[in-house]
């Protein structure tokens, strides 16, 4: 009898242990470290909330925060709307559509590093293909990665390009789960296309939509590879976002305490967004 009671706990123990050690404990440790000044070698010096103060008053941080928010907004809006439209376009199960779905999905299986490289070559200001095409159709060349006003948007383009396939496929399969008879009933009811979209398609897709928006929000805060390989945070810090900022301060400048404080800020940011998200849009999801 005793074994039977302990059994479920034993079964979840390994997984929960890993989660505890590598997800929960680090968060707590990071919180702890954020109150110290430390360069990994010398002693830890307790400085209370000074890191936070420095962070909030630093123009760098404010720029980074702004960059992160801008990145999140752009990438989520672009990714969700494009994948939705693409799924709408490709949802019929024809050979052409299947081929397109596969090609759109292909970047997902490839390392972000490789993709960053390919695109940095593409976006090369002097020799890249993009500028060549632009010149061909008579538009001016864009300094994709070197113009502080453009660089962040270029990185958004890259990550949207990579992730589109995944989201599109999720939408396509969600489309397939909408029972045909709903549309048939709507036809008999003489419903106009937009009404059909609003009253049938959208509600039926809302769980998937909810999921995709959420994962994109979280993913946008994780952006690292593109920044690390393509712009290193520049030009003029225009592509420095929170994850990279933490990396810089932790691994390049060795300001562990400060980096931890930024980490806490990032976590709060993600947490707040998630909660807000669940409270607002989460309510409007239609479950079957």
């Amino acid at each position: 009898m005793k074994l039977a009671k302990a059994r479920p706990y034993l079964m979840i123990a390994p997984a929960m242990a890993v989660i505890g050690v590598f997800s929960l404990y680090p968060v707590a440790y990071m919180l702890y470290l954020s109150f110290f000044k430390w360069n990994m070698m010398g002693p830890k010096i307790f400085i209370g909330l000074k890191n936070y103060g420095d962070m909030l008053s630093s123009t760098d941080f404010r720029q980074v925060l702004g960059n992160s928010l801008e990145y999140m907004l752009l990438s989520v809006v672009a990714a969700v709307s494009l994948s939705f439209l693409l799924a709408l376009f490709l949802r019929k199960n024809t050979a052409v559509n299947r081929f397109l779905q596969a090609s759109v999905f292909a970047p997902y299986v490839i390392s972000f590093v490789s993709i960053a490289f390919i695109w940095s070559w593409f976006m090369d200001s002097d020799y890249g293909l993009l500028n060549y095409v632009l010149k061909l159709i008579g538009l001016p060349a864009v300094d994709w990665l070197n113009d502080p006003h453009v660089a962040l948007k270029s990185l958004v383009i890259v990550s949207v390009w990579k992730g589109l396939g995944f989201d599109t496929l999720l939408f396509v399969s969600a489309f397939h789960t909408i029972p045909a008879y709903l549309y048939e009933a709507a036809r008999l009811d003489k419903a106009r296309p937009f009404a059909v979209f609003r009253k049938i398609t959208l509600p039926m897709l809302s769980p998937t939509l909810f999921f995709i928006i959420l994962t994109n929000i979280i993913a946008s805060f994780k952006t690292f590879e593109t920044i690390s390989i393509m712009t290193q945070g520049g030009p003029l810090n225009s592509t420095d976002t929170l994850a990279y900022y933490i990396y810089q301060y932790g691994f390049k400048f060795f300001k562990i305490g400060y980096a931890s404080a930024v980490g806490v800020a990032l976590m709060l940011l993600v947490g707040i967004f998630t909660i807000l998200y669940f409270l607002t849009l989460g309510r409007r999801v239609h479950y079957r």
């Binding site: 390994p14 968060v27 990071m30 779905q101 292909a106 390919i118 020799y127 999720l170 805060f221 990032l266």
Partner: protein
């Protein structure tokens, strides 16, 4: 009137198809092309679309720029080890959450779910500090342990287990099946597709992971392929796009081949997830 409308939409549709194909296939073609050009051919404007004399040496140069075979081996070891660890931790946990009810179950499951939102980019610093204090840095363990479980996997597998009709389990109990046997002989076979899909996704993300190896390893002996690829950027005279693309191609081709074969499985996986 109607036919011209149809023709319009057919043309429009074709144009969109071409556009999509272009956006997704051209970069690969371009990469392919660049990988066989010489540096001189590459850094030229306007760019050329065909190569008279393919320069196969690029591939050799790419492979010798970093210890390719060692990195390849490391990638394989780490990926396989992580998949195995995940199976060992996720399957029992998902089963327990799905089929038993015990005190604190809801809270523990919520914690597991919440951990899905704690990305590597947030915790890498403390994890690095932890591991270096334990002397684990630059070992396979350092890369394997942080990813030894998957909260997403627990979530998905629990759904699958929950969908086994209660009656089948009851029939097994009446057939005098021990709890262990129920899990092995009934639940696991039913869950095989889900487990296979999770393993596939884990493989892809682990194989391509740049971040954890970057942060946790500095030694060639344990570094993985994405880091090797990244090192291609540094070249003597300016950015050696030709070698870089050649190197990338070498890394990408195996996984694209795997993808081509696993394609149907992937689509099935998505249809399955779409139903959730």
């Amino acid at each position: 009137m109607k036919t011209s409308g149809k023709a319009f939409s057919a043309i429009g549709r074709a144009l969109v198809i071409l556009a999509i194909a272009a956006i997704y296939i051209v970069p690969f073609y371009w990469m392919l092309l660049t990988s066989i050009k010489s540096q001189g051919d590459v850094l030229v404007f306007p760019p050329t679309f065909w190569v008279a004399q393919p320069r196969w040496e690029n591939f050799g140069e790419a492979l010798s720029a970093f210890p390719f075979l060692r990195y390849l081996l490391n990638s394989v070891i780490v990926s396989v080890a992580i998949i195995l660890c995940q199976c060992l931790t996720v399957i029992p946990a998902a089963y327990a959450f799905a089929r038993f009810s015990f005190k604190g179950q809801k809270a523990l499951f919520a914690i597991a779910l919440a951990s899905m939102m704690i990305p590597a980019q947030l915790v890498f610093l403390p994890v690095f500090l932890m591991e270096s204090r334990l002397g684990m840095i630059n070992s396979y363990a350092s890369l394997i342990l942080p990813s030894a479980t998957s909260a997403f996997g627990i979530f998905m597998l629990r759904q699958t287990f929950k969908q086994v009709p209660e009656e089948v389990i009851e029939a097994a109990r009446l057939d005098k099946t021990s709890e262990f046997k129920i899990m092995i002989k009934i639940m696991l076979p039913i869950a095989k597709p889900t487990i296979a899909t999770l393993a596939l996704f884990t493989f892809i993300s682990t194989w391509n992971d740049y971040f954890w190896p970057l942060v946790l390893t500095t030694d060639d002996r344990v570094r993985t392929l994405p880091l090797g690829v990244a090192s291609l950027k540094m070249a003597e005279n300016g950015i050696a796009y030709h070698t870089m693309m050649a190197g990338n191609l070498i890394i990408i081709i195996p996984i694209l081949i795997v993808f081509l074969f696993a394609q149907r499985q992937v689509v099935k996986a998505f249809t399955y997830m779409g139903k959730k």
